[in-house]
């Protein structure tokens, strides 16, 4: 049962909203370095599960353990400081600030922790952070737009920048909530390319997605969620061949 490679363990989680059993008996083990996708039709409980993992929602019972630490009941910033970064369904960025500053902020959070009264040093003298941020923007192909206000970027570029904001923290676990939702075909493709590119870096990723195209090209392991339960678990090929999945999901929408 105890697999030493498991970094994130969602253990027997139930979540009820009033009479609605949104999550039932969820047991999920994510191994170090793997890309683990959670798929399922709309309303299957994917977002609820993600919110339970990052501590936004408290589970009715059960708990979430990250590398030996219980996440349940912790605040978002504490969870981040443990090494978990999150990409949102609609990019959460600092729209008024420049792209460069958007990336510098998480870099500073990584270095300085949750709070530091760092007010007498100039930003200009943070050369280390500056260089790191510029390298990161170069890495995701956004160096040219570093002086632009983040709010004026295209949807795809916002997502790319948000990814850079997460990657610069070198998280041990990256949570992606429908990273291509609401995107044009072109933006979706560039985002997938980028995700593939960072796949080799060895960080653990959990992707929530309903777009099968995205999932099967990225995931090492897939869990299928339907009506609040995990109905299948395995490699992409195993999941693809599972009749229960075809009935609940693939047969329905594709």
């Amino acid at each position: 049962m105890t697999n030493p490679n498991v970094v994130l363990h969602v253990a027997d989680v139930h979540k009820r909203f009033g009479g609605l059993h949104a999550l039932a008996d969820i047991d999920l083990q994510v191994e170090e370095g793997q890309t683990h996708a959670i798929i399922g039709p709309n309303g299957a409980g994917k977002s609820t599960l993600l919110n339970v993992i990052i501590g936004k929602l408290a589970p009715t019972s059960g708990q979430v353990v990250f590398d030996g630490t219980i996440l349940t009941g912790r605040k978002p910033y504490q969870i981040n400081q443990l090494g978990i970064a999150r990409v949102f369904q609609t990019p959460e960025i600092f729209a008024d600030l420049s792209v460069l500053h958007n990336v510098m902020i998480p870099a500073l959070a990584k270095r300085d922790g949750a709070f530091r009264l760092n007010m007498l040093r100039g930003l200009d003298s943070e050369t280390g952070i500056l260089r790191e941020s510029e390298d990161m923007l170069e890495d995701v192909g956004m160096f040219a737009s570093r002086e632009m206000a983040a709010g004026s970027l295209s949807r795809g570029d916002k997502r790319r920048m948000e990814l850079a904001m997460c990657l610069i923290q070198h998280p041990r676990l990256l949570l992606l909530d429908e990273p291509t939702a609401g995107m044009s075909r072109h933006d979706t493709n560039t985002t997938i390319e980028l995700l593939k590119k960072i796949k080799s870096r060895g960080m653990t990723k959990v992707i929530i997605e309903h777009d099968m195209h995205v999932v099967f090209s990225l995931a090492d392991k897939i869990s299928v969620l339907a009506q609040g339960r995990i109905i299948a678990d395995g490699t992409p090929d195993q999941v693809r061949g599972n009749p229960k999945v075809q009935e609940a999901y693939l047969g329905g929408t594709h």
């Binding site: 600030l97 902020i105 709070f115 760092n118 200009d124």
Partner: protein, 380 residues
Amino acid sequence: MRIMSRNDLLLFLGFTVVVLAMPIWLHPFGAAYPDLLQRFMIFGIFAVGFNILFGLTGYLSFGHAAFFGVGSYAAVWSFKLLSLDAIPAMIFAVVVSGVFALVIGFVSLRRSGIYFSILTLAFAQMSYNLAYSVLTPITNGETGLQLNLNDPRYLDTTMGIPTAGQPVPTLLGQSLGGFAGFYFCAGFLILAFFIAMRITNSPFGMMLKGIKSNQTRMNYTGFNTKPYTLAAFVISGMYAGLAGALLAVTDPLAGAERMQWTASGEVVLMTILGGAGTLVGPVIGAWLIKYFENIFSAINETILHRFFDVLPDGLDNALVAITSKFVGEGWFLTLGLVFVLIVVFLPGGIMEGVRRIAHLFDRKPKGRPGKAAPQPQPAE
């Protein structure tokens, strides 16, 4: 490692020169007398400090006058109990208002948005009402707290400094009346501006901007936003206390009306008018409001008649009748109108206007927000 970038250094030097030379360049505008200049400095500090909270974090406090008032009371008490020297009074006032801000901020910052505004307003109104009623032993109620010939002044007595005649605040024995008072205040404004500039351009300042821009992201980025906002709140409360103390130095009488919510509203107006979130904007806003308050309040119908003299009689009278509503007692009407127009058409305040105009002339998108240092031009 550089202390400051070249742009910042230029901005700071420019600001310093503009401030110190005020008695000269304000002369043609009829505003170069110490009393008004002192108020320019004092409210400049108040607005710069308010901007550290509102401009950077976006938290709109409607109760900042409370810290201003507390600063005034603390300074006057220091004059009464410790010494007539201004330095201990300033230190005492800044510390007291800082502690006061820490307490109020700690409670108020548990909520955000309009709830935060209402909480700060509620605390300020409580302070104001209490200052008028139960706290009369400390505030001397409606009369206001003032200096007295037989105040104990323990520090002065132990050091054997005698007081001759009516007690007035001094600096190391020098009188702080007239232009000396102005330069004393100007020194503090320049210092206050310098610190605000450092804060704005520091990592801490960027965190505050991040909080204003997207608090959710800040949390998920690993920041505990509460101590950041609290620190900004306390710093801006200390600025307000400093300004209040300076007002007590130049005029050692502290009254509760300084804490009323209209006074809190005034500093909001100054900051918005100049441009919230910019460095020089709030200072310019404070100067403009204090300047026009002074000019407009002094205009009366006789002056208006003289002004419109060239026009035919009927038109002359009609124009005087209309314009007289906007000057003298009606100055606040003008202020309100200007304010509405600014918020509707130029939410970024005067600084945004300057930027837009600069943009017309200069197509290169080089200028970064808050970096331009225009000569403050009290309009014609």
